[in-house]
Symmetry: C2
Subunit: 216 residues, 2 copies
Amino acid sequence: MSTTHKKRKAGSRRAEIIDKATDLFLENGFSGTSMAELAKACQMQKASLYYHFKTKEELFAACITEGHACSLDTLETISRDEDAPPAERLRAAIANLYQINVDSKVGRMSPLIAEVSRAIPSVAKRFHQDFMVKEQSLLEKIIDDGVAEGAFRRIDPPTLRYMIVGPIITLSLAREMFATFDNLDQECPADHIRQHHIEQILRLLAKDGLSADREA
Amino acid sequence: MSTTHKKRKAGSRRAEIIDKATDLFLENGFSGTSMAELAKACQMQKASLYYHFKTKEELFAACITEGHACSLDTLETISRDEDAPPAERLRAAIANLYQINVDSKVGRMSPLIAEVSRAIPSVAKRFHQDFMVKEQSLLEKIIDDGVAEGAFRRIDPPTLRYMIVGPIITLSLAREMFATFDNLDQECPADHIRQHHIEQILRLLAKDGLSADREA
DNA sequence: GTCTATACAGTGATAGAC
DNA sequence: GTCTATCACTGTATAGAC
């Protein structure tokens, strides 16, 4: 507290940089975000950033991997709770997928990854391994359990996965694309889709004859 | 032919620039693509680009709007063919949506739009109006006709739209994100999803009792 | 661990000859 | 309509004081 010039909070200035950087990357893209801009947002000097991160690419990688790695906890809990009724588990899981992919920062990073994937392939690799694969396998376990219990109809796994995750990711992407629209919530009605999508998935998974429970 | 220095093909050098620029933008993003790089790809001088386009942003806008505006022709034809059986029309429509969004350049631009949307909101607006809205309404007409004919069950339109377009857009996005992977076709099995997705949509739209036609 | 100062390559864009 | 030459500026990254 005596030697340094500006020490805002104890310890992890690094975490603060990652947080601010993530916001800026999400808003302006990777190339569209400058270290100067980030420095200003952190109220520090450009050069100081390079004490914490050797390069801009390394900083970006940290935003992807360290920044929000704990996001799958809830999904993991749901996945482990094998006693709950399959439909309720799936309902909870999909609700959580919306939260992860639409509400939180990690899930909104897909367009960013697409932007830098050619220039920094390792980032795409990490994002895939640390986030997407885990998310997928947790979801798949929940469905598999339901099928094993006889509660769900068996559907080709990759296809079902895309029908569950597809609308969610697309909603997230659309909200990034049209972030500046006045009527964003009309164009991309997040809550509406969030509520109705799950019902259609359950209808798909329902065994024949049980599917007439609900009319949209 | 006598006055100019290098006149490759007659007339539309402009179209060539748009074409090359689109490729580079798709590969490296907007900020990640420099005018110098583009000039080299077009085998011309940087300054010459500015004869055709006042700014880089204007060039980008041209890539979005002019470059690939005619892509909805097939979908339009399908949409107009009201005598064909609804299921066949929808099948053809979805197949075309895959072609537009996964195979062609327009559909792969979504992450790009997301990147520049905050900096150049007009581009997002144009893309939305000229492409997405049209695509959506053509699709909706096909479904509405099927419902009117009594062939399809009625499903909440925005939800159904996301369940059709969501997996397609997400497949496209994933292929951009993981473009550098060796096993891209394993990770993002485009053909597989393309074939099976449509069957699930038809099951969703099938009236009760008719849905036992097929097992995935 | 943060600062000031700076290197220097690359950026979008312009001027003016041909 | 394309060229050469050049502009003013911003980009990432580094050196060295404190």
